[in-house]
Amino acid sequence: MAESMATAARKVDLPPGRLLHMYRQMLRIRKFEEEVDRLYQAGKIWGTFHLYIGQEASAVGAIEALEPGDYITSTHRGHGHSIAKGASIPLMMAELRGKETGYCRGRGGSMHIADVESGNLGANGIVGGGIPIATGAALACKKLGNGRVVMCFFGDGALAQGAFHEAVNFAAVFKLPVVYVCENNQYAMSMPVDRGLGSTDIVIRAAAYGLPGVSVDGNDVLAVYEAAKEAVDRARRGEGPTLIETRTYRWRGHSKSDANRYRTREEIEAWKQRCPIRRFGEYLEGLGLLTAADRERMEREVEAEIQDAIAFAESQPDPDVSQLADGVYA
């Protein structure tokens, strides 16, 4: 096991039940995404979506550091963030099927899933588009004095957007309670980070705004958790934003599928060897918290949960076309 968890040596202050919950969350994301892909191949899902497979530890580790009342903003690759923040999988599935009872009443689809009740202020079709929004939400938290924190997810590609620079500087100036989590999965579509960014040292950017910057192994759920916890605590204490980089990898094509012309099969295979779920599972086994039988049982339970969600979505009504214009204004 070349890739044993760095955190094995660390004391992460989480009770066993919480660790097992995190494992299950990662599993739920993985299975959800696998089924979304299958449904697309079967012609049941239309439009576009971006799979999070391989990156599960990033969403789960970071979001576990939040309190239930805290907020997130998500990205075009947002299913993992939604699930980790507590979204209902049946309602997500219904949205992907374009149903009236889905999260966005079938109006938004994969790229716009929002679940304000669970604190998810929305996925985003515009790369970097969520960064100013998260910043504004943090501004509101500060003005309201509600003690809440906003966690803002975006990819490595978003670092090249002007919106990133403007919003992070803005948050730094006003010491807003926001944690910026850059999920560096090595590519923005076909663009590798070392060609799309002037510096691949992602968190060096934090210094330019006077913020702490922390880079972690994004496939190590506990490493992500630890970094996020520190940043969330700091934000909650009123000490301002942090920039975190989670180093990870997307196993699948950029959207739906792609021809992978921009990377090698060997590279993909090498990253699959660092599967965040398998690593965490083995770590929990090592601690005696999980047996092989437990893992299989959990997988079966999650599988059943996803199948139920699919059946639920299938049974739901389509939107009524006469209500097309409903909901544009408040």
């Binding site: 109006r107 716009h112 079709g125 790369v127 090249a160 957007q161 002007g162 960014l197 076309v321």
Partner: protein, 334 residues
């Protein structure tokens, strides 16, 4: 003549212009080995290399602004914005900079740049990847705006755009990329600012652009069976606008329907109607001019809703039938 797809026609125009003029180069996200989000530039990097087919960072403001800056120094950049919705991110550079530099500087510079961008709905990509924003840019003096509907025009208009000394925005509809049509292999251009009459008719003039031209032609076929003769004008260029072709046609038919995918409210249909009623065609009108445009909603994800959000063939048929029923001369004839 051999037939190729709209996407191939765009690619040929880019390749031929790069061969013809070494100042021409391409910039955009994922346009190199990936070939662009819609495969339009696939293979161009093999012939022209990464210096002329530049994969850029994910930065629309920089892509458009860098095109303007390079153009001022005599290069002829063709920028690709991956979806036209992202023009909003680069719109300071396009609207406040590229469009105005020549005039603001008293005519001292030229800005020979092109922005190509896929537009429109119909792919399930929802509200932030499906808009038709051409009217925004039509509104700006200093920009030219074209929206080719056929492979022939996709190639010919793009060549004209590249050779033009002004910033030109080319809206390519996603649903058109796979459509096929005759395209010459020899060099040709389609002039910017000249509409095409796609079908001649005597009862109604339908004025359309982009994918709506195809829907209008299909509608005209159906209406012909009912004895309604429709003339279909493909505007091709939105700015400058070929008012002469519009006015002449409406003088002949006495009825006009404008069809576009962009929202009807404050869409360019209003400009076309204004053009008609301000001209001598006003005296020839037998019925009110009709506008068909997108509903006043963001483009929804669900396919039935998405379809209902923009004009379809049956909407054009219904509008034309309705118009004939309202017209006194037709009623007398019936």
């Amino acid at each position: 003549m051999r037939e190729i797809t709209y996407a191939q026609a765009v690619r040929e125009a880019l390749a031929e212009e790069m061969r013809r003029d070494e100042r021409v180069f391409l910039m955009g996200e994922d346009i190199g080995v990936y070939g662009g989000a819609f495969g339009v530039t696939l293979g161009l990097i093999d012939e022209f290399g990464p210096e002329r087919v530049m994969d850029t960072p994910l930065s629309e403001a920089a892509i458009i602004g860098a095109a303007a800056g390079a153009a001022v120094l005599g290069m002829r950049p063709v920028a690709e914005v991956q979806f036209s919705d992202f023009l909003t991110i680069g719109s300071d550079q396009l609207v406040n900079q590229a469009a105005k530099m020549r005039y603001m500087f008293g005519g001292k510079v030229r800005v020979p740049m092109v922005v190509r961008t896929p537009a429109g709905s119909g792919t399930g990509a929802a509200a932030q990847h499906s808009q038709s924003l051409e009217t925004w840019f039509m509104h700006i003096p200093g920009l030219k705006v074209v929206a080719p509907a056929t492979p022939y025009d996709a190639k010919g208009l793009l060549k004209s755009a590249i050779r033009d000394d002004n910033p030109v925005v080319v809206f390519e509809h996603k649903l058109l990329y796979k459509t096929k049509g005759p395209v010459p292999e020899e060099d040709y251009t389609v002039p910017i600012g000249k509409a095409a009459i796609r079908r001649e008719g005597t009862d109604i003039t339908v004025i359309a652009t982009s994918v709506m031209v195809l829907r209008s032609l299909a509608a005209a076929d159906r209406l012909a069976e009912e004895g309604i003769s429709v003339e279909v004008i493909d505007l091709r260029s939105l700015r400058p606008l070929d008012t002469e072709t519009i006015v002449k046609s409406v003088c002949k038919t006495g009825r006009a329907v404008v069809v576009h995918e962009a929202n009807k409210f404050a869409g360019f249909g209003g400009e076309i109607v204004g053009t008609i009623v301000e001209s001598e065609a006003f005296d020839y009108l037998d019925a009110p001019v009709v506008r068909l445009g997108g509903k006043d909603v963001p483009i929804p994800y669900n396919p039935q809703l998405e379809r209902a959000a923009v004009p379809q063939e049956e909407d054009i048929v219904a509008a034309c039938r309705n118009l004939m029923r309202q017209s006194p001369r037709w009623r007398a004839r019936a």
